[in-house]
Subunit: 150 residues, 2 copies
DNA sequence: TATAAAAAATACTAAATAGTATTATATTAA
DNA sequence: TTAATATAATACTATTTAGTATTTTTTATA
């Protein structure tokens, strides 16, 4: 459903959001290591996000990527609009050109419920709120260091 | 989430299921036209399904593809196991390697509900039952002939 | 002001998915 | 037994996504 690029980008932004209180910056390499994702790939994605003002960056020594107050008020959808070409959550699960409540495909109603939920989250919840929720609930944006047996 | 190949294959099998009472056979070309999908592409998929005994076929004049009683008792998952290389509904929505109820990603619980529903349907409902449901509910496996404005 | 650290830009290669074209084989029926 | 029809098999091309490598630019600081 999401491309690897989008998955990496969302996790990277959540990583930066979690760290944003400390006002520290993180290099692409540090982020790649923390999330166990390809170094050069995430660097390119972060650059795209920075260019589109979804995240912030400064060059040079002690530079890196970070989120400012404005960035923290953006939504996951703002990330996806930069990374993903096509609208991810549009498009019928079975590929019908005009699938809708009126002309539903055989799984339309099963999918529609999920789509609604995830769309509300990604369109309305701010990155700040999302990151707070991650902290509160103790969910994971990386499995680094997790016991290999689990 | 599903590849085009899987989408086409599921719709083609539902098409054949709907027609199975008439004991008529349908050529790849006829199926392609009815579902408005690429001719050669669906032909190749139908051949794969036939080779794996998911659907039935006979060559020659008046030949074509059809479903026998045994085929009608199969599940959508049986189709996917032939067409799709990787398990479609495994794998974390955000790409975490060990996402689970124990180590959930930030959207795990939103996704898990949907995944459960669609998986139950695709694993347990027979093609026959699925096709009956399509007929009963009047859902669409093609939008061919639908007014272009809708 | 030279150096090093970091993003930014550019240009690739590789792999997976999507789709097309051609030829061979089987079967029916005239 | 020949012609027509349809699947089966094989071999492609094109596009998208994923990932890598290299060079340029900016900037802090020694």
């Amino acid at each position: 459903m999401l491309s690897n690029a989008s998955k990496y980008a969302i996790r990277a932004v959540l990583f930066l959001a979690e760290k944003s209180e400390m006002h520290q910056k993180y290099s692409a390499v540090e982020i790649a290591e923390a999330l166990e994702i390809p170094n050069h790939f995430i660097a390119k994605l972060l650059q795209q996000l920075a260019k589109n003002h979804i995240i912030s960056s400064t060059k040079g020594p002690n530079g890196g990527f970070y989120l400012n107050a404005k960035n923290l008020q953006l939504k996951v959808c703002d990330i996806l609009n930069v990374i993903e070409i096509k609208k991810v959550f549009e498009g019928c699960f079975l590929g019908l050109p005009k699938c809708s409540d009126v002309n539903p495909c055989p799984v339309h109603h099963v999918v529609a419920g999920f789509r609604e939920k995830i769309l509300v989250k990604f369109e309305h919840q701010t990155i700040q709120e999302f990151a707070d929720e991650v902290k509160l609930k103790g969910t994971f944006i990386s499995h680094k260091g997790l016991s290999p047996s689990i």
